[in-house]
């Protein structure tokens, strides 16, 4: 349903994403793994046309046959509301601070669907409920009255409200603690099985990839170095960088390795020496 081919993103003479190609199937959960500077967030932003001004991009992003890179602003807005939606790392910026969560959710419905006011409210409450939140209370709350985990779940409710076909989650759990992260990833799983949506999950931490992702693409300095089924990439990573990324996760077992990088046979190549 989504086909990215030869996507390049430049800032002046610098190429931040280099001729990247990637496909996403209907109902698939793709983990796009990489670290800062890998271009994973830029790639995700390019899909929705969310790249900041000074960046230029070339190549092609086809969405069910529609070329997204040459979309006019109006059709892009319609598409972004209803077919493709985003969840970001910084949950604090998802909602306007001086409006209630409820009014922001209903506004979203109002902009895209013609529903009676009561139905709109009902629909929002259901969505918040699905997100495992105390729906009535959250509906009437201002963002500052909720915890980080609650806000991020409300953000997911907002992203799913219009039943998109693709959800792009850019580091949705990075700023959360582990129990909240688990709930957030669980929600995305539930959405996938309920409406069969596809998910692009951007992460630097492959810890939970085995449980959630169908396929994994590993990015580094603007290119994909390896793609494959989650199982294959996690258990038999082909590229040294994928191996390093996986070896960086401290294991939880009785016998601990002395060192993390050493256990992957990657001594010498030091990730700290790469500037941001």
């Amino acid at each position: 349903m989504l086909a990215i081919s030869k996507l390049s993103i430049r800032s002046g003479s610098q190429e931040l994403v280099r001729s990247l190609s990637l496909e996403l199937q209907d109902g698939e959960w793709l983990g796009l793994a990489g670290e800062s500077g890998s271009g994973k967030s830029l790639t995700a932003a390019a899909i929705g046309g969310l790249l900041p001004r000074p960046l230029s991009c070339s190549g092609s992003i086809l969405w069910n046959g529609l070329e997204l890179l040459r979309l006019d602003a109006k059709s892009r807005r319609r598409l972004l509301g209803s077919e493709i939606s985003y969840v970001f790392q910084d949950y604090r910026n998802t909602f306007t601070p001086f409006l209630t969560i409820g009014s922001q959710l209903t506004e979203l419905l109002e902009a895209h669907l013609s529903l009676a006011a009561r139905d709109r409210r009902q629909r929002c409450l259901e969505e918040l409920e699905q997100a495992g939140l105390p729906a009535e209370r959250v509906f009437g709350s201002y963002p500052y009255q909720l915890s980080g985990g609650q806000l991020q779940r409300a953000a997911i409710a907002a992203a799913l409200l219009l039943r998109p076909k693709l959800l792009i989650a850019d580091e949705p759990t990075t700023a959360l603690d582990s129990l909240s992260s688990r709930k957030v990833l669980g929600l995305l799983d539930a959405a996938k099985s309920r409406f069969g949506i596809s998910i692009i999950w951007i992460t630097h931490d492959l810890r939970h990839a085995r449980r959630h992702a169908d396929r994994i693409a590993v990015m580094r300095t603007g290119s994909i170095v390896e793609t494959g089924s989650a199982r294959q990439v996690l258990e038999h990573p082909a590229h040294p960088y994928s191996r390093r990324l996986i070896a960086s996760i401290p294991p939880l077992r009785r016998e601990m390795p002395e060192r993390l990088a050493a256990s992957a046979g990657l001594e010498g190549e030091d990730p700290l020496d790469h500037p941001r």
Binding site: E35, L179, H204, L206, R244, L245, P250, P271, H274
Partner: protein, 261 residues
């Protein structure tokens, strides 16, 4: 000093701290012994960072006692605190905030040593005198090139800044280190490199430390003994290899389950 080697560096007895009418630390007690690395794991709001600031005398507490090498700190004078603090080292979560953006690396790095003129830590044995030589030696300890000393913080990556914070924290040979989420804002491979570095340094310099993190796996990797905090209480405490035992607290089991997924 007439303190025995096995006497605790830090003794925390029934510490309680209130904030806005609510207790954020309840009856916290533990000891840190020389050469030991004690892990504290907890989610946001568990009180682990508040505890860190109390141990470092950077904020006060309401009840109980924290003693450093047997000396009680609850009612210590400012002069006393200024004498005790340089014997503690700290590395915090956000590498961007831990270096003054207006100072060159060398000046941030050497601040603790500049404060204690005449003091020469054992890690600088055999290093020629002079600030540049000391800075170069400290940078080498954390595997950074000497040229880094002339930079400003904004010119460095997060991992590099965090390594400078570590070098700085160990520069004055502190009695113990408080590492409060030192890897949480770093990339995965950088986290691993920082964890490896800390573990190496622990061995090389026989450091005593408190490693505080929400990441159970990282705590398990770093520490000899772990305490689990929840809502200001220490709910569980175990030696490293006891983590998988069935007698663990339900909350510990829950965290373990999340991280093992």
């Amino acid at each position: 000093m007439t303190i025995h080697d096995n006497a605790p560096l830090l003794t925390v007895r029934n510490v309680r701290k209130n904030y806005g009418g609510k207790a954020v630390l309840h009856d916290v007690s533990f000891e840190l012994k020389k050469g030991e690395c004690l892990g504290i794991v907890g989610e946001s709001g568990s009180g682990k960072s508040t505890l860190a600031r109390c141990l470092l005398t950077l904020s006060g507490w309401d009840e109980g006692e924290i003693a450093f090498r047997g000396e009680p700190l609850a009612k210590a004078s400012r002069a006393k605190l200024m004498q005790v603090r340089p014997q503690m080292g700290a590395v915090f979560q956000n590498p961007a905030a831990s270096l003054n953006p207006r100072l060159r690396i060398i000046d941030s790095l050497l601040e603790p040593l500049d404060q204690r003129r005449g003091f020469r830590p054992a890690i600088l044995d055999g290093v020629p005198p002079g600030r540049e030589a000391a800075a170069a030696a400290l940078l080498e300890l954390v595997r950074l090139p000497a040229s880094t000393m002339g930079s400003y913080p904004h010119e460095l990556s997060g991992g590099q800044k965090q390594r400078i914070a570590i070098a700085r924290a160990i520069s004055s040979a502190p009695a113990f280190l408080v590492l409060d989420e030192p890897t949480a804002s770093l990339d995965m491979t950088t986290q691993a490199a920082v964890l490896d570095l800390l573990k190496d340094l622990r061995k090389e310099l026989s450091l005593s430390c408190l490693f505080i993190s929400h990441d159970l796996a990282a705590v398990h990797f770093m520490s000899d003994e772990t305490m689990v905090m929840r809502n200001g209480h220490i709910v569980d405490r175990f030696r490293n290899n006891e983590l998988f035992d069935d007698v663990r607290h339900d909350y510990t089991k829950l965290l373990l389950e999340v991280f093992q997924e």
